[in-house]
Amino acid sequence: MSFNNVKSRHTAIIELTNSSNQSVSVGDALLFDTLRASGSHGVSVDGSGNISLDTSKEYFIQASFDVERGTTSDSWAFDFYNATTSTVLAVSDGAFQAQWDAVPTTTKTNATFTAAYVQSAPISSIVLKATTMSSTGTVTTNTNIVIIEVS
C-alpha cells in the first residue's frame, strides 16, 4: 500500500568562482578554478571553463557578473554555449543572456545582469562565453556561477 507518494530527491548547491581577475575579449570563455558544494554532485569544470553536467539530473544555473569595462562606452554580453558543439544556447533551450548596453545620453536601457541555464534535460557540457565585449575588459573575482542540482 502506498499513500501520497512523493519521492525524495537529493539536491546540491554548487558555486563556481575564479581566484583571479580574467582579461576577457569577445569570444573568450570565462574560467573558474574554485568549486564549492553543499554535498555530493555531478558537476565539474576544466581549465578551459567547460562545465560538465550530469544529464540524468536537473539544473538551475545562474551566473552573476562583475565587469570592469575597457572604456566607459563599452557594452558587454555573456551567453551559455554548448561546449561540445560551440553553439550558443537559445531561450528555447532554457538559456538566457546577461547583457549590458552602453547607451547615448538620451537613452536609458534596462539590462539583464544574470545569465541562466535552467533545464530538466540538460546537455552534458556548457561553457560561458563573452558574446559582446566592445574592447578587452576584466571579469573580476566577484563573478560567480551558482548551480542548484536536483537528482
Partner: protein, 141 residues
C-alpha cells in the same frame, strides 16, 4: 494497492518561462505576458501555469530598450492570488547617476507566476520595449 497518487508533478524540480517577441511597456501594474514555458508547464494568459499549486523560488529578469527618453521602473513577480513576491528590478540609467539593476526574486506557493510592471519611472506617455522577459525557478514541492 495505492491510494491518493499524485495527479500532477510534485517534488523538487526546475522551470522557466519567457517571451519570444518584444512587448511594449507603457503603464504601471501591467502584466508582461510570457509566451513559452518549460516542458511540463504551460502559458495561461501570459503567466506560467504549473497545473497545480507548487512551492517555488523564482527569479524574474527584464531587459528593455527605451523608445525616447524612458526609464523602466520596478518589475515584480506576481502569483495567481495577487500576492506580490518580494523583489524588484529597478532602472538602469547607464548615463546618469543611477546605475543600479537587479533581478526580482521571490517565493510563493501558487499555481501560476508572472511578471508585472511596478511603479514606472518617467513619463507614462512614453513607452519602452522589453526585448527579453524571463522567469526561472526551482520547485520546492
Amino acid at each position: 494497492m495505492s491510494y491518493r497518487q499524485p495527479t500532477a508533478a510534485t517534488g523538487v524540480g526546475v522551470f522557466y518561462g519567457y517571451r519570444s517577441t518584444a512587448v511594449t511597456i507603457s503603464t504601471d501594474n501591467t502584466k508582461l505576458p510570457m509566451t513559452d514555458a518549460s516542458t511540463g508547464n504551460t502559458i495561461s494568459s501570459g503567466s506560467i501555469d504549473f497545473g497545480s499549486s507548487r512551492k517555488f523560488f523564482a527569479c524574474g529578469e527584464v531587459r528593455a530598450d527605451s523608445i525616447g527618453d524612458y526609464q523602466l521602473g520596478d518589475i515584480k513577480i506576481v502569483a495567481n492570488d495577487g500576492e506580490v513576491a518580494e523583489g524588484y528590478q529597478v532602472r538602469n540609467n547607464a548615463t546618469g547617476t543611477v546605475c543600479m539593476d537587479d533581478a526580482c526574486y521571490g517565493t510563493s506557493s501558487q499555481s501560476t507566476v508572472s511578471l508585472f510592471t511596478g511603479e514606472i519611472l518617467g513619463s507614462e506617455a512614453i513607452t519602452a520595449e522589453a526585448n527579453e522577459l524571463r522567469v526561472t525557478g526551482v520547485f520546492v514541492s
